[in-house]
Structure formats: structure tokens, C-alpha cells
């Protein structure tokens, strides 16, 4: 059952600092990108950067990467999947209202 996983071996101090720097850089990048008019892509770029940042936090700070067990990843993935369903199927109504 419980295969010995957990965060016994957390990453090294160097990794943490690097991730932290990357997060700061991401923040600055997203602010800069927001000042450029990319039309509809502003939102896409901002959300992409946010997702990368969230991934960094989850993988390194929350030790999702180190977790040898797939289970935790499964929890994360399925949560995102159901969130996606909520948004996507609501849009199935709102997005098609103009046609009917």
C-alpha cells in the first residue's frame, strides 16, 4: 500500500533559490507583457506564465516532483480536470447562446 514516498528527500537549497528567482522573473515578465498590447493574446500570455509559475510552486516547493507516488499527481490532475469541466461545459451554454 503506502509505498514509501513523501518528501523525505527534499530538494537542495540551490534548487529552492533558483525556483524563487524564476518565480520573481516570471512575475516581472508577466507585468511587462501586460504593458504590451497583444490584443486577445494578453490574457493567454498572462495565464500561461501564471500556469508555469503555479507548476514551479507545486513541483518544487510543494515537492510534487519528488513524490515518488503517482497518487498525489493524480489528485492534482483530476482536480484540474473537473475544474476544466466546470468552465468548459458552462461555456457550452454561454458560448452558444448567440446562435439560438
Amino acid at each position: 500500500m503506502s509505498d514509501h514516498s513523501s518528501s523525505e528527500h527534499s530538494s537542495s537549497l540551490g534548487t529552492y533559490i533558483a525556483v524563487w528567482l524564476a518565480l520573481i522573473a516570471g512575475t516581472i515578465l508577466t507585468v511587462v507583457a501586460a504593458h504590451i498590447n497583444l490584443g486577445p493574446f494578453n490574457a493567454a500570455v498572462a495565464l500561461t506564465i501564471a500556469t508555469v509559475k503555479a507548476l514551479l510552486v507545486a513541483l518544487f516547493f510543494m515537492h510534487l516532483r519528488g513524490a515518488s507516488e503517482k497518487l498525489l499527481k493524480l489528485v492534482v490532475i483530476s482536480t484540474i480536470f473537473f475544474l476544466f469541466i466546470l468552465l468548459a461545459l458552462s461555456m457550452a451554454d454561454y458560448g452558444t447562446r448567440v446562435w439560438s
Binding site: H35, I36, N37, V98, S100
Partner: protein, 341 residues
């Protein structure tokens, strides 16, 4: 009028038959499934009841069997779905050129206005054999317009129009129910639909004093000052509304929408949401200044203008060939946006 112990509702519209047929199909399918399952249950229960010396036979299962009883039901389901979808599609798409009735629901009554101008409360007179389209909205909470004998139901929402239609086939007086719970007197929000032979209907119509709804709308159009901007000669600051209704309109933000009842309604109550391309955003909102009935009249008037040949500078025309100066203005605006930085 009403049978005392009904087991089946009367059919009084063209779509009722279709719904009933589908229903009967489903009843038969279900009855067959129930018969199958119950027979199996009862037979197994009796045949394999515990007997001395007879042990149960352990059976793992069988993938082919599992697939059979997943796929066959799924196919049956798909038939049900498709058939249901067709019936639904028909029931929700009003035919062109139907007679229009505006419905305003409020706690706890129905107000109905014929396009010809007759106003009724909790009672709707319609002739046999004519398509009637209902354009419905609510003043307060959600209600639902339900006529069982027509097999027709549609929620009535505040803040927008919902549509429904029917064509009555049988003279008589039928129930009109409010089917969405709407407060204390929800169950008292009952009216009747009076279906009449065309001749009788004409007599009823002429016996009821009125002018067409669009005429009332026209008066309001002048009183509210709409006509100062929307001139029929195209010289106003707003688009000429002739010939607008029922056509696609190009909007400022690049979308193109159909000028239907909801669109006109939004134009009056929330002009900011959908700006017509090529015009200044000067039209004020009339939210709070006009009642639901008045909005209906205005909408009816704008619709009546659709039959008039479009003059110049309507939105539809403007959409194709935007007047030079406004087009420039909007281009400038977007350029300005990207030039910062």
C-alpha cells in the same frame, strides 16, 4: 371541459402528437426492459432458491456479456436522444410569420398582449390553425409558461426574452400553468388558453377595442424621443431602424449578431452592451424609464419597421460600408491602443 379522471392529457397542438409518440415509444422500451429484468429476477430467484445439497456455482463474469449489455442500451439511448432532439428542435424553432403575442409574467399573473393590441390577463385567446409565437419576459422572478395540452413549456426570465410557439388544433379552454416555483401564489398563477375557430376568433378580436401594439410603440417612440435620433430619412444620429430587424448587425467590437427581439430589447435597456458599428455611443439607456409593457411595444414597433424598405444609413448598410469618418475614428482608436509603449 375537463375529464374527471384523466390518465392522458388531451392533445391540442400540432406538436403534441410528436411528444406523445415519443413518450409511448419510451414507455414501450421501458416496459420491455422492466419485463426483461423483472422476469429474470423472479425466475432466477425462484429457480435458484437454496436447495439442500446444491451449491452455488461461482461465475467470474464475462466480458462479451458486459459489452453486450453496455452497447445495446447505449444504442437504444442514442435512438431516444436523437428522436428527442428532433422533437425538441421543432418545438423550439418558431416558424416564420407566426402571430406574435407578448407575455409579461409577474408574481402572480400573466399579462398577454397580442401584436394586434388586445391585452389580456390570465387568459389568452388564439385561433385554431395559426402559428403563435410567444415573446416572454418577467418583471420579477422566474416563471414558466406551461400548457399541458400543447406539450409546451418555457421558463420566463427577468431581464431577457425567451420564446416559445405553438399551433393550436382543437377549440376548447385549456389550462395555462406557471410551472416554475415563484413564491406564495405560485399555484394560483393559473390562466387559461381559449382556442377558437378562426371565425369566432375574428369576432372576438373585433369585439375587443385596441390598436396594434406597434402603433402604441410608435407613439412611445415619439414620446420618449427615440425619433429624434432614429429618423426614417437616415439623417439622425442613430441608425435608421427601418429594415433592421431580423438582419445581422455588425457590432463595434467586431461581433455580428442577429437583430432579434432580445437584441432590440438590449439596445433599449442596455445600449452599451452591443454598440452598432459606425455610430457614436450616444444612445442613453432607458432602463428604469420604461416598463416591460412599454419595452414590448417598442420592440413590436421596431419589428414593424422591418417590413419597410430600408432607407439610407441603416446599421445593416453601415456595416458593409462604414461611413468614412467613423471608420477612421475607430481605426485611430485601436491604433492608439497599440502605440503606447
Amino acid at each position: 371541459m375537463f375529464d374527471n379522471f384523466p390518465l392522458w392529457p388531451q392533445r391540442a397542438s400540432t406538436s403534441a402528437g410528436g411528444v406523445d409518440a415519443l413518450y409511448i415509444f419510451l414507455v414501450i422500451v421501458s416496459a420491455m426492459m422492466i419485463a426483461l429484468i423483472f422476469t429474470a429476477l423472479v425466475y432466477f430467484a425462484a429457480r435458484y432458491r437454496k436447495q439442500k445439497g446444491v451449491r452455488a456455482e461461482q461465475i467470474e463474469g464475462s466480458t462479451p456479456l458486459e459489452l453486450t449489455w453496455s452497447i445495446i442500451p447505449l444504442c437504444v439511448f442514442m435512438v431516444i436522444f436523437l428522436w428527442g432532439a428532433v422533437v425538441y428542435f421543432k418545438g423550439r424553432t418558431p416558424p416564420r410569420d407566426s402571430t406574435e403575442v407578448y407575455v409579461v409574467a409577474k408574481q402572480w399573473m400573466w399579462k398577454l398582449e397580442h401584436a394586434e393590441g388586445q391585452r389580456e390577463i390570465n387568459e389568452l385567446h388564439v385561433p385554431v390553425g395559426r402559428d403563435v409565437k410567444l415573446i416572454m419576459t418577467s418583471q420579477d422572478v422566474i416563471h414558466s409558461f406551461y400548457v399541458p395540452v400543447f406539450r409546451m413549456k418555457q421558463d420566463v426570465l427577468p431581464g431577457r426574452y425567451t420564446m416559445a410557439w405553438f399551433r393550436a388544433t382543437k377549440p376548447g379552454t385549456y389550462h395555462l400553468f406557471c410551472a416554475e416555483y415563484c413564491g406564495t401564489q405560485h399555484s394560483g398563477m393559473i390562466g387559461s388558453i381559449v382556442v377558437m375557430e378562426p371565425a369566432q376568433y375574428e369576432a372576438w378580436m373585433s369585439g375587443t377595442p385596441s390598436g396594434p401594439l406597434s402603433v402604441a410603440g410608435e407613439k412611445m417612440f415619439a414620446e420618449l424621443g427615440c425619433s429624434t435620433c432614429h429618423r426614417s430619412d437616415g439623417t439622425g444620429r442613430g441608425p435608421n431602424l427601418q429594415g433592421v430587424f431580423g438582419k445581422p448587425v455588425a457590432l463595434d467590437d467586431g461581433r455580428t449578431v442577429m437583430a432579434d427581439e432580445n437584441y432590440v430589447r438590449d439596445c433599449i435597456l442596455d445600449p452599451g452592451a452591443k454598440r452598432v458599428k459606425g455610430f457614436q455611443p450616444i444612445m442613453p439607456t432607458f432602463q428604469g424609464l420604461v416598463s416591460e409593457d412599454q419595452v414590448n411595444a417598442l420592440v413590436a414597433y421596431v419589428k414593424s419597421l422591418a417590413k419597410v424598405q430600408p432607407g439610407t444609413k441603416t446599421a445593416a448598410v453601415a456595416a458593409q460600408t462604414p461611413p468614412a469618418e467613423t471608420a477612421n475614428a475607430s481605426q485611430k482608436a485601436s491604433l492608439k491602443g497599440s502605440q503606447v509603449e
